[in-house]
């Protein structure tokens, strides 16, 4: 009955306890299978996630320019350099500004689209697809369209053409930090790309709201529209909203593709990952400083995530679904 391994494991106590034997065999069998199933994933996770994180921590205390096996221990110097580097601290400001715009705007737009699509009688699947379709587009492709066709700084860009119809002068969208029009380009791009994705989450949540709630509210005299939205829909969407905002924040922290492609040569509007990329993979190849930056960033993300979870009730979101 039992497999060879189970027998091996059970062999130290073969004679006594005839009842315990099959149980122990079963448990050994389960343990073996557990590692059989999870082993490949866990080995990969250790090699490609835990080892890099550990290595990064280690490197961050060394002078590791152009080398990954440094010998010159320099303590917290890399951290001091990173935290006093105006490029890195500036990138944290860039992220904060970016998050301050993109998180509420995406939340609002995706929720609005979901509410609109949810109320449609005809063509609902069609419109849902239309709003969802940009998810298929990559940030690189979208950056190309935004930079070269819509917000091109010269006359043939769509935005400048439209402004021209109203007699407004051409705007150099990306070429100037003041006024910071580049934010409009970056924020609209990401809004277009990700709103449809989060709309789907809200749509799923809207469909799960029991219709009795609305009926009860109607009986209690709540006017359809703002009142029902404020007192029924919004509270019922709380768990989803929490998840969406969390996902949006983490996604904003990881912003790289569109900034790299839109603002590649600019010295302003650089988010943390672009700075880290330039520090570690660029001409300097300073793995020590890059690692210190990665550690600082990881800690920040953890703090923000936990903080947000505390405020908005992360656990509650998990329970209710």
């Amino acid at each position: 009955m039992s497999t060879t391994t189970a027998r091996d494991l059970a062999s130290p106590a073969p004679t006594k306890a005839s009842k315990a034997r099959p149980r122990r065999g079963l448990r050994a069998n389960a343990t073996l299978n557990f590692w059989l199933f999870t082993g490949p994933f866990l080995i990969g996770l250790v090699i490609f996630v835990f080892v890099p994180i550990g290595w990064s921590l280690w490197l961050s205390f060394f002078d590791a320019r152009f080398t990954v096996t440094p010998s010159n221990f320099i303590g917290f110097d890399n951290y001091k350099t990173v935290l006093t580097d105006p490029n890195f601290t500036g990138s944290l400001v860039t992220f904060t500004v970016f998050a301050a715009f993109i998180v509420p705007l995406t939340w609002g737009l995706s929720l609005s689209l979901a509410l609109l699509v949810h109320r449609l009688t005809y063509l609902r699947a069609f419109f849902r697809s239309v709003f969802f379709l940009p998810t298929a587009c990559s940030y690189v492709a979208a950056s190309l369209i935004w930079k070269m066709s819509i917000f091109n700084g010269v006359r043939f860009g769509l935005a400048n053409t439209v402004l021209g119809w109203f007699g407004v002068d051409q705007v150099a969208w990306l070429a100037n930090p003041t006024p910071p029009w580049y934010w409009l380009v970056i924020v609209t791009l990401r809004l277009w790309l990700q709103a449809g994705f989060y709309m789907i989450l809200f749509l799923a949540a809207l469909q799960n709201i029991p219709s009795e709630l609305y009926e009860a509210a109607a009986i209690d005299g709540a006017k359809p529209g703002w009142q029902t939205f404020r007192y029924i829909t919004l509270p019922q969407l709380r768990a989803t909203s929490t998840a969406v905002i969390l996902l949006l924040l983490v996604a904003a922290y990881q912003a790289f593709d569109e900034f790299f492609n839109l603002m590649g040569r600019a010295t302003w509007g650089q988010p943390p990952l672009v700075i880290l990329y330039k520090t570690a993979i660029g001409v300097n190849q300073d793995y020590g400083q890059g690692s210190a930056g990665a550690v600082v960033l990881t800690l920040l993300i953890c703090v923000v995530t936990l903080f947000q979870g505390k405020i908005m009730g992360f656990g509650r979101g998990e329970e209710s679904k």
């Binding site: 059989l36 529209g225 993979i281």
Partner: protein, 290 residues
């Protein structure tokens, strides 16, 4: 009153079903839809136009002459091997999808279903990696992969991405909700965990697998940072890196760039049209559990 309308309809809509309200709703949705489709239209417009018309003084919504010959142009471009980058992307996206599903679904099943004393500890170790976004670990990962000598190789592009804590987590959540009775019946009939998994669980979970496959494929095809880091040599570029390189080229060849963009998006639009049901389902599940 019991609901006679389909479950997805909210009573609000039924009440406000006046003609004017509905017309306003459709106008609002219609305008939003046009705005969302506009960038796609611009890609198509630019890719089939000639450069002088794109950069011309007067904005034209439609090309005066559709230049079909533009379609092959990215493949003849001497500065970027666009065809090669498409092949690289296809290989990377497909193998990443297959590998991720295999590795992560097995681990998710093990964590969800196989009783083991320390399973919770293992699960927490997986959860902990969710707190560290993969994009932040790209510096140390690059250091690791380059010391393995995997730069500019499919190995380097594919293997480090297979071990997604998030995908494993989603599979675990899914398997927790999978009806236990089916497997138990199979186990009583003498199937091992392995046998029950492949012959009972997987065939009954194809919807979820399809959803996860779609999501993984899309993110594999669209990923940029990691291929940019690993693809130091142009022969290892994926299509996203190739597209990005167009932006830094000295000469800007508009119709070529946009044709290349259009070609790069096309596979995903097909994925969208054919697999949308799973995609929506998968995204919905992702978000609620996330």
């Amino acid at each position: 009153m019991t609901t006679t309308t389909p479950p997805v309809d909210s009573p609000r809509r039924v009440k406000r079903g006046s003609g004017i309200g509905n017309a306003g709703l459709y106008i609002a949705v219609g305008i939003a839809a046009l705005l969302f489709l506009l960038p796609f239209y611009l890609i198509v417009r630019n890719s089939l136009m000639q450069d002088p018309e794109i950069t011309g003084e007067n904005w034209k919504w439609f090309p005066s002459h559709i230049q079909w010959s533009n379609i092959t142009e990215p493949f003849h471009d001497v500065t970027v091997d666009f065809g090669r980058s498409l092949v690289n992307s296809a290989i990377v996206a497909v193998l990443t999808t297959v590998g991720t599903l295999l590795v992560c679904s097995l681990a998710g099943y093990g964590l969800a279903r196989i009783p083991y004393r320390h399973a919770n500890k293992v699960f927490y170790a997986v959860l902990a990696t969710l707190m560290v976004p993969t994009a932040v670990t790209f510096v140390p990962s690059f250091v690791l992969v380059s010391s393995l000598g995997w730069v500019d190789s499919y190995r380097g592009l594919i293997i480090p991405g297979l071990f997604s804590g998030f995908t494993c987590f989603l599979f675990r959540q899914y398997f927790l909700g999978f009806p236990k009775e089916l497997e138990e019946a199979a186990r009583v009939d003498g199937l091992s965990y392995w046998g029950a998994y492949w012959r009972i669980v997987v065939p009954n979970s194809l919807n979820f697998f399809a959803a996860m496959a779609t999501i993984t494929f899309i993110s594999g095809w669209n990923s940029f940072l990691w291929p940019l880091v690993i693809g130091q040599d142009p022969s290892a570029w994926t299509v996203q890196v190739a597209l990005s390189s167009y932006m830094t080229n000295q000469t800007v060849n508009y119709h070529l760039i946009f044709m290349a963009t259009a070609i790069s998006i096309l596979p995903l639009v097909f994925v969208f049209l054919f697999l949308q049901r799973w995609l929506v389902q998968g995204v919905a599940q992702t978000g609620i559990k996330g």
